[in-house]
């Protein structure tokens, strides 16, 4: 194997995990990662080493993920969303008068690299726990950095539904990160 191939081989699993975070479909994630690696191997000279191979491959993978979503958004069998229990969970964060049940306390960002890396892992875990439909909208908006209008159009949902999904995602992630990292009860 060439050095490039060796590096790609080491990146396979991380890229796959990353693709699954967005697609929630193992076979589709494998396809997207394979397409990414193929694109790099077809034009090895295009990778100039200005960025790391990881960053370079991630950029290509993002495009492949968008392609996949564009092709399959309307037909993919994604798990149905239990909207009621989701809304109940968010509702339970507030008192009847609309005040917070437990007032959110400030977050202090870790300064050390190791701690930051740990925090990112916790965040990834929180993202994996999001319901698939909520995650898909959120990841398209925040991770693939698409405009909300594009997200709605590509997923074939209304603007209002899009905003509701994004709100749910942010509330769930905020709670998850709060209790598993910033204000975790066990040291």
């Amino acid at each position: 194997m060439s050095p490039l191939e060796q590096e790609l081989s080491a990146l396979y699993k991380p890229l796959l995990r990353f693709a699954q975070l967005q697609l929630r479909d193992k076979a589709a994630a494998e396809d997207a990662v394979s397409a990414t690696m193929l694109a790099i191997l077809e034009k090895p000279d295009a990778f100039q080493g200005a960025s790391s191979l990881r960053t370079y491959a991630t950029g290509i993978l993002k495009h492949k993920l968008v392609d996949h979503i564009r092709r399959c958004s309307r037909e993919v069998a994604i798990e149905p969303l239990d909207e009621q229990s989701l809304d109940d969970a968010i509702e339970s964060l507030f008192r009847e008068d609309g005040h917070w049940q437990d007032k959110p306390a400030a977050w202090v960002e870790p300064e050390q690299a190791l701690e930051r890396a740990q925090m990112m892992r916790v965040l990834e875990g929180c993202l994996e726990k999001l319901p698939a439909r909520v995650a898909r909208v959120f990841m398209m908006r925040e991770w693939l950095e698409k405009e909300t209008q594009e997200v709605c159009e590509e997923l074939g949902i209304t603007a209002n539904n899009c905003h509701v999904m994004l709100f749910r995602a942010r509330m769930l992630l905020r709670s998850c990160l709060d209790s598993n990292w910033f204000h975790r009860s066990t040291p």
């Binding site: 991380p14 005040h99 306390a105 990834e124 992630l173």
Partner: protein, 72 residues
Amino acid sequence: MMTEKLTCKEVARILSDGLDQQMAPAERARLRMHMVICEACRNVEQQFDLLRRLVRKIEPSDGDDGTADDKP
């Protein structure tokens, strides 16, 4: 536009919407008014912003805990 005060629950939704679309000036004023008096919602605003920054920074990481790989 209503002149009634916003609740924290309404503010959370408005903060989220504000990350995805322009806010009408009147609504913005009502939001800022609430922020002036409510520390909890100021924290939430900061946390939503941080969430956005962190998610944009996610890159494939080498799994060391194996949690994700083993999922069905």
